[in-house]
């Protein structure tokens, strides 16, 4: 489904990704772990098409198509979805309007009829229940004044509505209490299917108890320095990143937060 080859990317002239290689097949769940600042969000943002990051080398193929040639919105329509580490607040645009515009853009792309306000309201209410967000959140501005956990649930709600082919979840588990973690994991598990892949960035083994990955990768210094099965996550939890020859202080700090 997704094939990343020797991907280099920089921001403001500083190279962040220094040759990423990764193959993801339909139906698989991959977890990416790694110290703060190692480039996990950068990778996620580059895949989604954030132009703040410049790709200097390498290629990304999504189902035979050269992803890097596509505009952000085209990537989304081809099935890329990024749950942001820091979802954006947009006062003045209601969550409902935002979600409906997005869903209809996808439907239009697929040649399906757009949903009218009433139809969409019904769907949105169902899905908001699934992520345990009160429907009143639909009326509020996009993420406006949402708590950290509510924002993350809103991201999962979008994934459920948009039904992507590749869902990239950038620390969607951070800042969640135990119940919310369960809700979000259930949402992600509901997304799991044979024709869909999931790439999740996380610092915590605890998420991987709920969503069991097929592969775990360690990203450090802009490269994937180790890959393995889910047992790698357990090993990391036990030993930190030090044994891999990289500093782990920052990571320990963030885990304590």
């Amino acid at each position: 489904m997704l094939s990343i080859k020797n991907l280099h990317a920089s921001v403001e002239g500083k190279e962040i990704l220094k040759g990423i290689n990764l193959e993801i097949k339909a139906g698989e769940v991959h977890a990416i772990m790694g110290p703060n600042g190692s480039g996990k969000s950068t990778l996620s943002q580059v895949l989604a098409g954030n132009e703040a990051f410049e790709v200097t080398e390498g290629e990304v193929i999504l189902n035979g198509e050269n992803l890097l040639d596509l505009e952000t919105e085209e990537r989304a329509r081809e099935g890329i979805f990024l749950a942001f580490q820091y979802p954006v607040e947009i006062p003045g645009v209601s969550n409902l309007q935002f979600l409906r515009t997005a869903v209809n853009a996808m439907r239009k792309h697929r040649g399906e009829e757009e949903m009218n306000a009433a139809e969409f309201m019904k769907l949105a209410k169902e899905v908001s229940k699934q992520v345990d967000l009160d429907p009143s959140f639909l009326k509020r501005g996009v993420n406006e004044g949402f708590s950290g956990g509510e924002k993350k649930r809103n991201e999962i709600m979008q994934a459920l509505l948009l039904q992507p082919k590749l869902a990239i979840l950038d620390e969607t588990d951070s800042g969640l209490d135990i119940d919310a973690l369960k809700v979000v994991s259930d949402g992600v598990n509901a997304l799991r299917s044979e024709d869909r892949a999931i790439l999740m960035v996380t610092h915590y083994q605890r998420l991987l108890n709920h969503i069991v990955p097929d592969y775990v990768h360690v990203l450090a210094g802009g490269r994937i320095i180790k890959s393995g099965g889910r047992e790698l996550a357990l090993e990391l939890e036990e030993k930190g990143y030090g044994w891999l020859g990289i500093k782990d202080e920052e990571t320990a700090d963030s885990a304590a937060n």
Partner: protein, 428 residues
């Protein structure tokens, strides 16, 4: 030094004689006072950014014909007054008729009413601040008088359609005077439109006198074409506990100027002024507002938003003047501006003059562009870039558009805004 240009004598030439005597008299007096009036230049403080857009040619001095045009505006619900080139068209209008409410054309006033009105006109605006709108008093051909007796409540909004037909060069001078008695209430909607393509000027003055406890809502939609220079002034004087609410939505043009001057003269008065301006192409729009807290214990709340695209130019000047006796004044002014292109210009200036010591006065002005990260978030959900731009631009003014208390006006505004978006954000 070159002498400042003055208003051409052609602009003061005698107009039609269809008004009652007292009003003709007033007009003549006001005209005499305007001989040799200096026109605003770059050096005129309150026209600093806008004088270059002012282009009054002698051809524009003639009065536009007020007859012989098929009229639009009939789609407006309820009470409706149609001005054609500054003159009320009774057959196209629907006057409210109710006890305690007098709505009439200046032309239909008897001598006594006309004399009474002549005494009241032009007492709400500061001549020096609205130099060009003074021309209206020298040239008006008709006007709308609205008198509300104490406790009278106009049961539906009154729409005033100001239609200008620019088939030849010329000017129109519509005028409205509202005298709201104690505890009376009314909503007045002014809609400015045009047809035709010759260069014309609309020079319009609207005045409100609010007695104790009166409540007036004024909606103003400025939507004339690319050939129309619009110079408008609204003057308001409020007595005890009166409340005035203004919602303006303005679309740019070759010259657009609105002066809004509110005087809070009685304790407990309140005003709320909302304004939205959008400009594109080479358009211009200039809002100058003044709120005077003359009496103590009054509240004012002002929120203006400008959006400028392409090479257009928007100006906001918000003055708050708190007089010495106006203790416990509460004034809040906020102006936010959105530049949609690097070639656009927005000039904003809050002016505070505070002479009382126990007041709360907050003001803020910002100028920014559409937020890249918000834009990325939206398009990352498959939303087209154009649509994302529209959503974010609307988000900037939505709050104000939604506060307009009438659905039909909101719809009109949305239709025009969509045209603006179509031209500003191309499909990619």
């Amino acid at each position: 030094m070159k002498p400042a240009p003055t208003l051409s004598a052609a602009f003061l030439e005698s107009a039609g004689q269809s008004l009652p005597k007292a009003l003709l008299e007033l007009r003549k007096q006001r005209g005499t006072a305007l001989v040799d009036m200096p026109l605003p230049t770059r050096k005129t403080e309150n026209w600093k950014y806008s004088s270059k857009y002012l282009k009054l040619t002698d051809e524009m001095a003639s009065t536009l014909p007020s007859q012989g045009k098929a009229l639009t505006g009939q789609e407006v619900p309820g009470y409706r007054i149609v001005f054609l080139n500054g003159v009320i068209q009774p057959e196209a209008s629907e006057f409210p008729k109710a006890d305690g409410i007098r709505v009439a054309s200046f032309r239909d006033l008897d001598d006594q009413e006309a004399a009474e009105l002549a005494d009241q006109l032009d007492n709400t605006l500061d001549d020096k601040a609205v130099q060009l709108a003074r021309l209206n008093a020298a040239r008006f051909e008709d006007g709308l008088l609205i008198r509300l007796k104490p406790d009278a409540v106009l049961d539906q909004p009154l729409f005033v359609i100001h239609e200008v037909t620019a088939d030849a060069s010329g000017s129109a001078f519509p005028r409205i005077f509202v005298d709201a008695g104690r505890h009376s209430q009314a909503t007045l909607v002014e809609e400015y439109r045009s047809s035709g393509s010759e260069p014309v000027m609309v020079n319009t003055v609207t005045e409100f006198k609010l007695a104790d406890g009166a409540k007036i809502t004024n909606v103003r939609l400025t939507m004339e074409g690319e050939n129309v220079q619009h110079i408008g002034a609204t003057g308001v004087r409020q007595q005890r506990n009166a409340r005035f609410e203004s919602h303006t939505v303005g679309f740019g043009g070759p010259l657009r100027r609105h002066d809004l001057h509110v005087r809070l003269e009685g304790e407990g008065g309140e005003c709320k002024l909302n304004g939205v301006v959008v400009t594109q192409g080479k358009q211009h729009f200039d809002n100058h507002t003044t709120i005077e807290h003359v009496a103590a214990h009054c509240n004012s709340e002002e929120t203006y938003r400008n959006i400028a695209a392409d090479q257009s130019h928007a100006v906001f000047n918000g003055r708050i003047h708190i007089h010495q006796d106006a203790q416990k004044s509460n004034a809040d002014m906020n102006n936010k501006n959105l530049l949609l292109s690097n070639g656009a210009e927005i000039d904003t200036k809050p002016e505070l003059e505070i002479y009382a010591d126990d007041v709360k006065c907050a003001h803020g002005a910002t100028i920014g562009q559409l937020d890249e990260i918000s834009l990325f978030y939206l398009v990352s959900r498959g939303i087209a870039r154009r649509e994302a731009n529209v959503l974010l631009t609307m988000a900037f003014i939505n709050e104000l558009v939604e506060q307009i208390p009438l659905e039909t006006v909101r719809e009109t505004a949305h239709t025009r805004l969509n045209q603006f978006f179509d031209q500003t954000f191309q499909e990619v």
